[in-house]
């Protein structure tokens, strides 16, 4: 009696606009912790990506949402209801596996119809929905084929149709494009975005490809060693990374280790271990802006300007030697060794004043807003 009273007193625990919610979720396998206290909310209709290097726990996180693993601690909510005790076959989610896991002994049509058949829908409705799902992924001409007779890209489409036909609340994608070649992957990326926009479903995708995550997602969670490093929109993750790992993992960057020497509201002065004085944007958290604190400055290669003569700025310009310049078509990729010893990568749309010799003496510079200080 008392207990039930306390339960009803508990505040409403979920926001109704969340399809998936993870609260301090841990997963331990034989003494190895794969997921350490992951907290995330996936909003309804969102394309959410979990991005990280291999072994960071991202696939385990997805398998926890699908129900193939049960959390060692913490809670998983799907559509606001606790799913910890719900087996995978009763969860309103469907998964597209990295290996596709198509049923080789069934035709494409039977593969797609499988989910509806085990749920004992009536046959005419099954036919109808399977036809529409196959049309959706442009595979209506292949209904009678068997999975082994299809190419990788076609199998991928069947796997998508097989999941989508069940009208899940959330579609889980485990490295969906990992097995495809580059050209096909680009095509499927476009189709995934289209599907997401047309269906208005919530997508949760696991990937190690930062470019894929940046181009497809509404929001990204970057994971490392079982923890979430940062959650944010692609722009936030790229422009305002919270940790050196995120800055380094998403895109290319140049990192300078040092400590904060001066600080005001709009900028900090960071003295590197090699003695350079950098003016960059301050860390996001005001607590991290104290003078004397260790910090790392991150400067993106495309923010750096390369010139032959000393630029007309007072801050953030350094002398160095061009080590090599690689022409990449759309841009030139340069490596510059500063006189203080650091090696920088620089991305220029074109080399200044035409051709530069290797080993030429150059200046690099950037504006005070182009770099960012990160707490260590």
């Amino acid at each position: 009696m008392f207990q039930s009273a306390t339960e009803t007193q508990a505040p409403p625990r979920t926001q109704s606009d969340c399809d998936v919610e993870l609260r301090k979720v841990f997963k331990v396998f034989n003494g190895e912790t794969a997921v350490r206290g992951v907290e995330l909310n996936v909003r309804r209709g969102e394309f959410f990506s979990i991005l990280g290097p291999s072994g960071c726990g991202k696939t385990t996180t997805l398998r926890l949402i699908a129900g193939f693993e049960t959390p060692s601690a913490g809670e998983i909510l799907i559509r606001g209801e606790s799913a910890n005790q719900v087996p995978p076959y009763r969860r309103p989610v469907n998964t597209v596996f990295q290996s596709y896991a198509l049923f080789d002994r069934m035709s494409v049509r039977d593969n797609v119809a499988f989910g509806l058949k085990v749920k004992r829908q009536n046959p005419s409705e099954i036919d109808d929905r399977v036809d529409r799902a196959l049309q959706l992924v442009k595979m209506e001409g292949f209904a009678k084929r068997f999975p082994k007779q299809l190419s990788g890209g076609q199998q991928q489409r069947v796997a998508l149709a097989r999941a989508l036909v069940n009208r899940p609340a959330v579609l889980l994608l485990d490295e969906p494009l990992g097995a495809l070649d580059l050209k096909l992957r680009k095509e499927m990326q476009v189709e995934l975005t289209n599907l997401h926009q047309d269906l208005g479903l919530t997508f949760v995708m696991v990937t190690h490809d930062q470019e894929e995550a940046l181009s497809l997602s509404d929001r990204i969670a970057v994971m490392k060693d079982g923890r979430i490093e940062q959650i944010g929109s692609p722009e936030e993750i790229y422009d305002r990374p919270k940790t050196p790992f995120v800055a380094d993992f998403i895109g290319d960057t140049n990192l300078f280790k040092g400590h904060i020497e001066e600080c005001d509201r709009g900028s900090v002065v960071l003295r590197t271990d090699t003695g350079l004085k950098l003016v960059v944007r301050p860390p996001e958290d005001p607590n991290d802006r104290t003078v004397g604190r260790k910090a790392i400055a991150s400067v993106r290669p495309e923010k750096i300007r390369l010139s032959r003569s000393a630029p007309e700025t007072e801050v953030n310009y350094f002398e160095g030697r061009l080590q090599h310049a690689m022409f990449m078509g759309t841009h030139v990729h340069c490596v510059v060794k500063l006189t203080s010893g650091e090696t920088l990568t620089v991305r220029q749309s074109a080399l200044p004043e035409g051709h530069l010799d290797d080993r030429a003496s150059v200046y690099v510079s950037w504006g005070p807003n182009d770099g960012l200080a990160l707490s260590v």
Partner: protein, 287 residues
């Protein structure tokens, strides 16, 4: 720079001619040592069986000399009630042992590949041990065990002993098939709403059927063939076919035993072929 890179391919044409010449001279002489060895190997393996077949059509009862073609021994065989009762015993043993082992062995292989539990590797090693333990050890152990418990020897004690090795053979064949399957297959079925039982029956089992069948045929042939274990564990009157044959040749090889052996060789050859065919068909594409 580009010129030096291009020059080696220009020298290629004479080399290519040389390659063509080599492949033309590669035709082997008709009588190489490999073909002599191969023929000798096959004679070594199959000549005794050929001789057996030869005598099974020989009219002479005792002599090794050819005295004319006859089917008498085959006819006599078909009218021999003892042979038929022994065959019936052998089939009862083999079919029962294989049927029980098929169910248990499949479950064993699936359990061992799909679930994590403490002591798994020990269990894995122990379950395949009957494959390497000598038959005589299994035979003696079973006999001593049955005697210690005071269980009377009947045809069913042979079945029990045969299940020991049939189980291991079927489990091995099924687990090789399982190892080739996508580990996400069952998860995909669960994900689509199938209960674990439905996932096993609708998705996993159809993939395993070729493996189970070929394992069963292998175990069946081994059970039919077994003399040692059966002769230790058989009760009175439960004589299997190999036991019957052995008791007959103790008083000298008779032509009807030759005829029986020829039939057995053909039957087991057919089953072995069938098992291999099923296995290969299962590995290739469906339909």
């Amino acid at each position: 720079m580009t010129e030096t890179a291009n020059s080696p391919p220009q020298q290629h044409s004479p080399q290519e001619d040389a390659i063509v010449d080599m492949s033309q001279t590669r035709t082997k002489p008709n009588l190489s040592w490999q073909s002599i060895f191969t023929v000798a190997m096959f004679l070594f393996m199959y000549l005794p069986i050929g001789v057996l077949g030869f005598y099974s059509f020989n009219e002479s009862r005792y002599s090794a000399n050819w005295e004319g073609f006859t089917l008498e021994w085959y006819q006599r065989l078909l009218n021999d009630a003892r042979i038929f009762s022994a065959l019936q015993n052998s089939l009862t043993v083999a079919i029962t042992a294989v049927a029980v082992s098929a169910v248990l062995g499949t479950l064993m292989a699936v359990g061992l590949s799909r679930y994590r539990f403490p002591g798994k590797s020990l269990y894995l090693g122990m379950s395949y041990l009957p494959l390497i333990i000598p038959d005589i050890a299994i035979a003696v152990a079973t006999l001593v065990f049955l005697a210690a418990l005071g269980i009377p020897l009947t045809i069913w004690t042979i079945v029990a002993a045969h299940i020991v090795f049939c189980l291991a053979y079927i489990a091995v064949v099924v687990s090789t098939r399982l190892a080739d399957l996508d580990p996400n297959l069952e998860e995909a079925a669960l994900d689509l709403g199938a209960t674990p039982v439905e996932a096993f029956i609708k998705v996993l089992l159809p993939e395993l059927v070729p493996g189970i069948l070929s394992g069963c045929l292998l175990a069946f042939v081994l059970s039919m063939d077994d003399f040692l274990i059966a002769s230790f564990t058989a009760g009175a009157g439960a004589t299997t076919l190999p036991m019957e044959i052995f008791s007959r040749i103790r008083t000298g090889v008779k032509p009807d035993v030759n005829a029986l052996s020829v039939l057995l060789i053909f039957a087991s050859g057919f089953l072995a072929f069938l098992a291999e065919y099923l296995r290969l068909r299962g590995e290739r594409s469906p339909n």
